[in-house]
């Protein structure tokens, strides 16, 4: 994996070094509400904000940490102290120098308050963060947290300017309309409903970078129109979700168009079917196993998502760390499903179930229809109910559903993106994307907790292999498929995807050529 990544970089770099300048036209979809990454973590905010802000580290395709605002780092033997040495000569876009005090403020004050994903981790594990001098920061943990080093990208622990936010109300700070970071591109303008323009940071700390003069993000709300924009050359890149899957094959075939599914390793999104395990019929493990046999997941990937995706084997994606393919399998077999239902002793027709539609586009409507049909075929009594994003979040957060779907990002390490969906301590009302299905197992709880504090990779692998086996056997969720995101780009764009965060990298080395 490392070898392949190095090779990729090695073959692309010479091309890039030949060209400088130009404007890269992209699509941001949907339009983000704001661009301050700490305050909003949606994917479009991430897409734009990752060019403006930076974290201490960046991550390769193999998810190994690489230097960002920190040029070197070390971890103490006991796994409790993380020391970072910062790059020299870094300034904020307003000219003020970047120092260790900014890092301390960001982690201890800013993110601890505003970042919904990072704050529970910091509040639980972080004992203190101090600036030993202007260029050295020390994080001290209360107990070991193995994936701590995975958290220093712009997705999570980004760095914000202390001189702007300290002592203010973060949400209403006027600078929120004019983001100031340390990244290779500076905010220039935002015409709401139309476009966001970033320009080259001439004082970027990496000399000679970035190559591009300007990046323009266009707002085009309609998917068919976005496909047209790409065909016309109004924009040079489409990323996953910009156009419907049905358009992707057609656009791939256009001469001069390149495509890749790389660059999503950090997210490794996985789609699951949630079954409310608090009440019949899904409180019975045999019924859940029957569901897995009743659904043809290969059909889902091939026909509903146009072959863009991969059937999942379990809760951990094949591109996330500690993945283990050796788990029980559920092949498509309605007969076996019926047999399991019989064995369970549950008369599933007596318990009408409603599939709460996942409101993110027509493919998800088709998925609900397909699953409804498949379950009816083995004897379930199924209806589909529609909702919108707000309604969905509310219902799932309050456990008010029978079954539904969702897709979640894994952020490289199971301790960040996977355990949150299964730990019984995460059965808390009020938020989606926790343990909303109500799965409870002291055994997996113990395995997850042990794995997240272990510092020995081999030991973690063993624990996570056990976890995967248990979660697949219990069908804690129905694991449907690994979402793939296809990035389409015109041949003149070089070095677009070079890391595990793909188009959410800072684009310092992206260039335009022939």
């Amino acid at each position: 994996m490392t070898g392949a990544a190095m090779l990729l970089v090695a073959t692309l770099t010479p091309v890039a070094s030949q060209t400088r300048g130009g404007t890269l036209n992209l699509i941001v979809q949907p339009e983000p509400p704001i661009l301050i990454l700490g305050l909003n973590q949606q994917s479009p905010t991430q897409y734009v904000g990752s060019k403006i802000y930076e974290g201490l580290l960046t991550y390769g395709a193999d998810l190994k940490p690489m230097p960002g605002l920190a040029k070197a780092w070390s971890i103490s033997e006991d796994g409790l102290t993380y020391r970072f040495t910062l790059q020299d000569g870094v300034t904020w876009h307003d000219g003020k120098p970047f120092t260790a005090a900014d890092v301390v403020f960001s982690a201890d004050k800013f993110l601890r308050q505003v970042h919904p994903r990072v704050r529970p981790i910091l509040n639980r594990y972080l004992a203190s963060v101090i600036a030993s001098d202007d260029h050295t920061v020390e994080f001290k943990l209360k107990e070991p947290f193995a994936p701590f080093l995975q958290l220093f990208g712009t997705d999570n622990m980004l760095v914000v300017p202390r001189h702007i936010y300290e002592g203010t109300d973060f949400a209403t700070n006027p600078t929120n309309q004019h983001p100031i970071g340390t990244g290779p591109f500076m905010f220039q303008s935002w015409t709401r409903g139309s476009d966001i323009v970033l320009i080259r940071n001439p004082n970027y700390w990496q000399k000679g970078l970035p190559y591009l003069d300007k990046i323009v993000f266009r707002v085009i709300p309609d998917s068919a129109s976005r496909a047209v924009a790409f065909e016309r050359g109004d924009v040079q890149v489409l990323r996953g979700g910009d156009v419907d899957n049905v358009d992707i094959k057609r656009l791939e075939a256009i001469p001069g168009v390149e495509h890749t599914t790389k660059g999503t390793e950090m997210y490794s999104t996985i789609t699951s079917m949630l079954m409310n395990e608090r009440k019949p019929p899904f409180d019975n493990v045999k019924v859940r196993q029957a569901v897995m046999h009743a659904i043809n997941r290969d059909f889902i990937v091939r026909n509903i998502f146009f072959g863009i995706g991969k059937v999942a084997t379990g809760p951990i994606s094949s591109t996330t760390l500690f993945y283990d393919p050796n788990v029980p399998t559920y092949k498509y077999d309605p007969k076996q499903a019926a047999a399991l239902l019989k064995e369970s002793g549950v008369d599933v027709f007596k318990y009408p179930i409603k599939i709460l539609n996942y409101p993110y586009g027509t493919a998800w409507d088709r998925l609900a229809e397909y699953v409804s049909q498949s379950l009816q075929r083995v004897g379930f009594n199924v209806q589909i109910e529609g909702t919108d994003a707000g309604g969905w979040a509310q219902r799932v957060a309050n456990f008010d559903f029978d079954t539904t779907f969702h897709f979640t990002d894994q952020f490289g390490d199971p301790a960040i993106g996977v355990s949150r969906l299964f730990l019984s301590s995460n059965i808390v009302k009020g938020s989606p994307f926790v343990n909303n299905e109500g799965y409870q197992s002291p055994k997996t709880d113990a395995l997850f907790n042990k794995a997240s504090s272990s510092l020995i990779p081999a030991e973690r692998q063993k624990l996570y292999s056990e976890v995967q086996n248990a979660l697949v056997r219990d069908v804690a969720n129905g694991y449907l498929f690994e979402n793939q995101n296809v990035t389409l780009y015109k041949g003149e764009v070089h070095n677009l995807i070079t890391s595990g965060v793909g188009t959410n990298s800072n684009f310092a080395t992206v260039s335009l050529g022939k």
């Binding site: 509400p33 704050r119 309609d222 129109s225 047209v228 309604g391 969905w392 509310q394 979640t408 938020s431």
Partner: protein, 368 residues
Amino acid sequence: MSAGSPITGAAPAQAPKATPTLDHTPAQSVLPQRVPSMALARFILAKLVKGVLVVLCVVVVNFFLIRLAPGDPASIMAGESGSSDPNYVAQLRTQFGLDRPLPVQMATYVLGVVRFDWGFSYRMKLPVLQLILDRLPATLLLMGSAFVFSVLLGIFLGVIASRTRYTGRRRWLDSLIVGGALLLYATPLFWLSLLMIVLFSVELGWLPAFGMETVGAGLTGWSRVLDITTHLVLPTVSLGSFYMAMYVRLTRASMLEVMGMDFVRTARAKGVAAPAVIRRHVLRNALLPVVTFSGIQLGQLAGGAVLTETVFGWPGIGRLMFDALMQRDYQLLLGVFLLTSAMVVVFNMLTDVIYRVVDPRIAFEGGR
């Protein structure tokens, strides 16, 4: 458009009342008589008072109506970030003031509105009024051009169709216009828009496909006007086509009815030239239904053209409203409703005034 219905619903309530039937004695084909200014002022004042009350009612009703939708901004923001921290959701609710009793929230909002403080969009971290005013020019531009396009072309084609039909010469032109209007009337808007993009932007490359102006071109003066105009063509045609077809049919039907009346025959008998008969005698009397309908059209356009704005990436109020609705951005949504309902009230008032200019027989007293 469904989100706009509480507003646009106000339009037809007033319009039919004021529509006079066509079998009255026809209007004199001279300049309108001078309107007594006191009556006009009293008329407008009465309408204004009613209008303000209507808008206030709309605000209050909308306030409670949008709370009926499941979910709130805090749960949506938590959903988007993949949060696993209920404390965070509670913190957001407190920050947005959603933890206070509903009547208190409403009172705060209405008091704010009266003092021109339309609230704060916690999602976009900007005052609501600023967000709306940023989008207003684009909306007004598209609205105005679609309106002018549909009214002028609709009336023009309607007149031609009715004339050829009435005189019996070139009947095919009538059939062509009526057939075309029927086709446009029945064509789904988004489909027409996409086909126009494919033809004029992708295949022929004559017109830009999206946005309001060329991004980053830094144009000024006339070159900027020209740039915006070329961007305006496709959205205008796609937004205006449906109404244009309506005007063609309305004008044609109403013209044909008037053409058969005695005073038209009299005018012709006394030797008035044919174009003058059409312009001064027939069209003027046939216009009232068109005026009625244009009032309704303006009201609907004010609610935003969500579909057109979506397909063409036009940065108008319709998209702002749609996004605010999906994200339960209550204050922003209420702000858009407030503005659009105020616009509907104003357009209705204008329609009432125009009736009386076109047809002086309608009195100003009491606003009837």
